[in-house]
Amino acid sequence: MTLRINSLGFQLIGFSLLILIIFFRYFSEIPKYKNGDFVKITSRVYTEPIVYERQQYLTLQGLKIYLPKYPEINYGDTIIVTGTVDGNKLATGYVLKNPKLIKIEESNKLLYGLRQKLILFYKSSLPEPYASLVAGITIGSKNMPSSFWDKLKQTGTAHVVVASGTNVTMVASFLISILTYFFKRKLAVFITIAGIFVYVVLSGFDAPIIRAGIMGSIAFLAQSKGRLVGSYRLLIYSAVIMLLVKPLWITDLGFILSFVATLSLMLFQKIINAKLAFVPNILREGLSTSLAAQIGVAPIIYATFGAFNILSPVINALILWTVSYVMILGALGGIIGLIVPLVGRLILLIAFPFLWWFVEIIKIFG
């Protein structure tokens, strides 16, 4: 007798198996710290430390670490820290008390340094908060004057300084449209995927950019093989891949918001856009995108922070149209600026009116 299982059955079994593995890995990976444990951590820094007035903040191995502002720790550095684990506030996770920075080993990898150089170039070319806004929009740097960061959060626009789907789409479509002039389709796709990878590393390993990177790569790969993959399936694939590699992401707010927002967009954006025919063209896309994303995101934001801005879709509609200009001018100005600073600066100055508009809107509503 032969056992017959159709392809749907295979998929189901495979899927449940994956869930099981993720489950298992989650519980084996969850850090087992006890209060008062003395730990020594040696790790590469995979997200840009957030610099506050007097200290810098980063998380390593599930521990929140606050260190003095100097010496400065950069994205990509490998550092050694010691301290005692303090888990008093379980809700906020484990904190490393009395942390001591033993050693910083600067990374010699090109890409990490490139990020640093780009951010510095933006900040030397434009005044604050415009410089931070460019750095945020183009490569997702969240180090900015705290007053401006607070305003972004208040107005529900902080997502623009998180490199994510829009950025990857722009990078990918820019690369593919140029590369297909010079290379065969297959090679062009391959280089584009490499380009997406470079962009993800450049933007820091945050959940939203990784999700977008994986989704984009799979979509392009499938396309080169002459297949179309449905967007829902892409979303699930990337979630599964990410959770297999790092199951702890399931509790990461950025990860959750990124997936919920994307799903929300897929479900509602077209419908809402069709209903907004009366809205002027330039604002419609932003408004429908924001409204659609809010359907999924707003409840989570409300549950986590206890507040969300009801005007957020309107504010987003007013500013989102500027983002693509800032992204294009920012990327172009940054790359050229690393070679010919003066020309790069001029390009960034052209972005000033867009940035000015963005900041004024945020000031009015913030």
């Binding site: 007035e53 030397s124 005044p127 604050e128 705290s146 007053s147 200009y325 100055l349 009116p353």
Partner: protein
Amino acid sequence: MNKLITLLFSIAITVWLSVFVTDSNLHIIACDVGQGDAILIQRKTSQILIDGGPSNKVLDCLGNYMPFWDRQIELVILTHPQEDHYGGLIDVFKTYKVLKFGQYNVKSSSQGYQVLEKLVGGKGVEGITLHKGMVIRLGMIYLDILYPPDGTQDRNANNDAVVSLLRYGQFEAIFMADVENQASDGISENTKIQNIDYIKVNHHGSRNGLSKKLLDVLKPKVAVISVGKNGYGHPDPTIIEMLKIVNVKTLRTDELGNIELITNGLGQFTINKIN
């Protein structure tokens, strides 16, 4: 095609904005940098920055008042090497081109100050050692250094702080840094400083700062206290009272945000408060 037109439009706006953002008055801005000092002195595209506050908040202030395309500060003065005065300067030196850096001949061994020194050295900024008797001129702006006398080394860094008198036409302003009572009394004997217009009150309004003797000589019209949330009780009620009795208009950065004074140097000035 639409995008191209928008971009061309944007270029046009940028050009117009860069032509129309400056006037020819003198602007003195006490930046709201929290607990600390940062004072921007600006005329057209020339700037002097006295101290940088504790953090990168000073960049907000510079961004707000300097023309958006101007990335050059002609002179930065550090009155004394304490963090609430130099902290933000690290960010300033990183992102602005500074032509000259003036400070008195005292250093600090703190980690942050070492970072600053290394940064200034690495950028090849010209250093000036400031002391009593020096006069610095930038266009029509004159800065007389009133304190400290060359060679003094006090155990208390506050009393080695650089005090300067600004002259612009008929307008005069004094920046007292963090110098304490005794030094204040000493400075009051300087004949240059009678009936001035503006004082940046010493030491964030601390009781150990401005002295009655000095205030009586200066007779300022406006007093600005640069102060933020702190555990030292700054500004002290006795100082506020002292200023009130002699009818000096007193303005605080913790209440008003950035405080901007504008003058044409012909005997009149106005005050703007923008948060």
